[in-house]
């Protein structure tokens, strides 16, 4: 037994480090940083390009190639002769842009929330609707569009969004307390199961209500299926604070999500308050998800697949997964929306159909190439 050894704190860092290894580590860190910056740039360019494409394409309005010029022209200190008239610019600014910006917010939020959920539950099949955000919003909207309609017709503001939002949060809160009472505070698995139960229950109630109000089925389904059409700057303003707070909290917990990857027990022995941290991340992800769902309905697939696509492209560390999910998720949803507008123009294809239609094959392609490579 060595009693002469000096304290660990001073000893672990000492001359023991050969300059070789230190150099290797420095190099690893520098390479990693360069890689991160490269990916963030790629993501940012993707988002900007998607936004410009989204604003440029659509029925009516000026020719698509003039739109980027007009956008440049409207930047401060830049003057370009775009040949776009004021009324044409109005179409772009009042009709297309809110839709594009809302698409960015919704896509970014769902993707980052999905990544966060997948991280805290260490479950790749989880999406941001897992704990009932979408089912709750759907139920709330259904209630308002059916029985609630009689009461609210005279109201100055349509409360559907607000009620959907409240129901989304309420449902997730129920899931959390049910899961926690089974012992889900210690293991995420019980929480996932509680989510399955609560979602089924909410969906059953919703189906029951719909069954008795067949006249509004179409309206309700249109609400649920998810859409960005008819988006206004008011919608954008409504969701922006929630999305901003949620995205910021997720960004600040990237390191925690990486610690979660080694398991709840080891995260706890590394000094992380597992329950509390998981709750904070879930609340943040749920808040943003509930906000975007109550404005744009249930847009599937984005929250599940975008984080995986990001992982397959840029690696599994949440340092990159969260910001890239925001950037790629936002851009992806805008492009999917453009396709939805154009595919059967002038009729719109529901955006959820498009996201699954492009996303699924791309995902399978990535999985295949990765398997061969790895």
């Amino acid at each position: 037994m060595s009693t002469t050894a000096s304290p660990v704190d001073t000893d672990v860092v000492g001359e023991a480090v050969t300059s070789d290894v230190m150099a290797t580590v420095d190099e690893v860190v520098a390479t990693e940083r360069r890689r991160e910056i490269r990916w963030l740039l790629i993501g940012a360019v993707f988002l900007v390009v998607a936004t410009i494409v989204g604003a440029s394409i659509g029925p009516a309005g000026p020719p698509a190639w003039r739109v980027p010029l007009a956008m440049l022209d409207h930047l401060p200190f830049i003057s370009v002769d775009s040949g776009v008239s004021d009324s044409e610019w109005n179409i772009i600014w009042q009709i297309r842009m809110p839709r594009v910006v809302l698409g960015v917010l919704v896509g970014a939020m769902l993707s980052a929330a999905g990544a966060g959920y997948q991280g805290v539950f260490r479950n790749p099949l989880v999406d941001p609707y897992l704990l009932g955000a979408a089912a709750g919003a759907g139920l709330g909207a259904t209630l308002m569009l059916t029985t609630g309609r009689d009461v609210t017709t005279d109201w100055p503001i349509d409360p559907v969004q607000l009620v959907a939002f409240a129901f989304a949060l309420g449902t997730v809160a129920i899931t959390y307390s049910v899961g926690a009472s089974f012992g889900g505070r210690r293991s995420g698995a019980t929480l996932v199961l509680a989510g399955v139960a609560v979602v089924s229950f909410a969906t059953a109630v919703q189906t029951f209500i719909l069954q008795r109000n067949l006249d509004v089925v179409r309206e309700v389904f249109q609400w649920i299926l998810g859409r960005l059409s008819g988006a206004t700057w008011t919608d954008v303003a409504t969701v922006t604070p929630y999305v901003a707070v949620s995205a910021m909290v997720l960004m600040l917990h990237r390191r925690h999500l990486d610690v979660f990857r080694v398991g709840d027990d080891e995260a706890a022995t590394l000094g992380v308050s597992v329950r509390r941290t998981r709750l904070v991340i879930v609340i943040a992800a749920t808040l943003g998800t509930a906000a975007v769902v109550s404005v744009s309905g249930l847009i599937g697939f984005v929250g599940l697949v975008v984080p995986h696509v990001v992982r397959l492209m840029a690696g599994a560390s949440y340092r990159l997964v969260i910001p890239l999910s925001l950037l790629f998720g936002g851009g992806f949803l805008v492009l999917a929306d453009v396709l939805g507008r154009q595919l059967m123009s002038p009729a719109e294809t529901p955006i959820g159909v498009i996201t699954a239609f492009i996303g699924a094959p791309f995902f399978i392609y990535l999985l295949r190439t990765r398997q061969v490579a790895g």
């Binding site: 037994m1 060595s2 009693t3 050894a5 000096s6 304290p7 660990v8 704190d9 000893d11 672990v12 860092v13 000492g14 023991a16 480090v17 050969t18 070789d20 290894v21 230190m22 290797t24 580590v25 420095d26 690893v28 860190v29 600040l252 390191r255 990486d258 610690v259 990857r261 080694v262 398991g263 027990d265 080891e266 706890a268 022995t269 590394l270 000094g271 992380v272 308050s273 992982r311 690696g315 599994a316 560390s317």
Partner: protein, 262 residues
Amino acid sequence: MSALTLDAVEVAYGGRPAVTAFSDEIASGEWVGLIGPNGAGKSSLLRAIVGLVPSAGRIAVDEEALADLEPRRRAQLIAYVPQEPLIPDDMSVFEYVLLGRTPYVGYFGAESAHDRRVVASVIDRLRLGEFAQRFLGSLSGGERQRVVIARALAQEAPILLLDEPTSALDIGHQQQALELVTELREHSGLTVISAMHDLTLAGIYTDRLVMLDAGRIVAAGPATEVLTAERLGEVFHVCVTVDVDPDDGAVVVVPRRGFPVT
């Protein structure tokens, strides 16, 4: 400087006791081996020390009761290598070892240059330099074991708990892992508590053995006293002979055919 005091520690799962009245004083720099049959309470005791399961009684590091400490502070004092660590295949060795610095990183903080230096030093000492950028999924069992120990060492905690550190390894890698712990102990004065199945290895490598059966201490002391054929027959229900090497005093437990004579 980092003695561990356990005073009447009790662990129970839903009313069923797993560890009963465990008291011991583990000196700074000592290596204590916990032995006992499956379900004897070895893992439960380690998990109680690191705070993963609730326990009654008192557990203290140098008079600091662990129950009063913040999780981060506790993690600065005690590092833990579980029996079956969860290894994310798509995480690099460097990232994994860097997670060991978590107790020193602020809630919204990032690792400092000092943290990276500690990790570099640990990677160097465990001869993992060439693996730094490899993914954990591509490592062999023995390499993984070293990486997990590296992660625990990066915690710079004076007390290291190892739950069956060698159970998944072949005889060569078992020896390498235990030699590594010995070397680290000599280098940094670590206090080590390890649950072990191989009685001979436990006797050779540790300073002192504590034998548990059904949650209670049945024997404690040097290997020569604890590892007797009669006691092993009683506790493990096994038929063995115990030889003591005349040269170095190593206690060798040799399994024999037949049923235990009790």
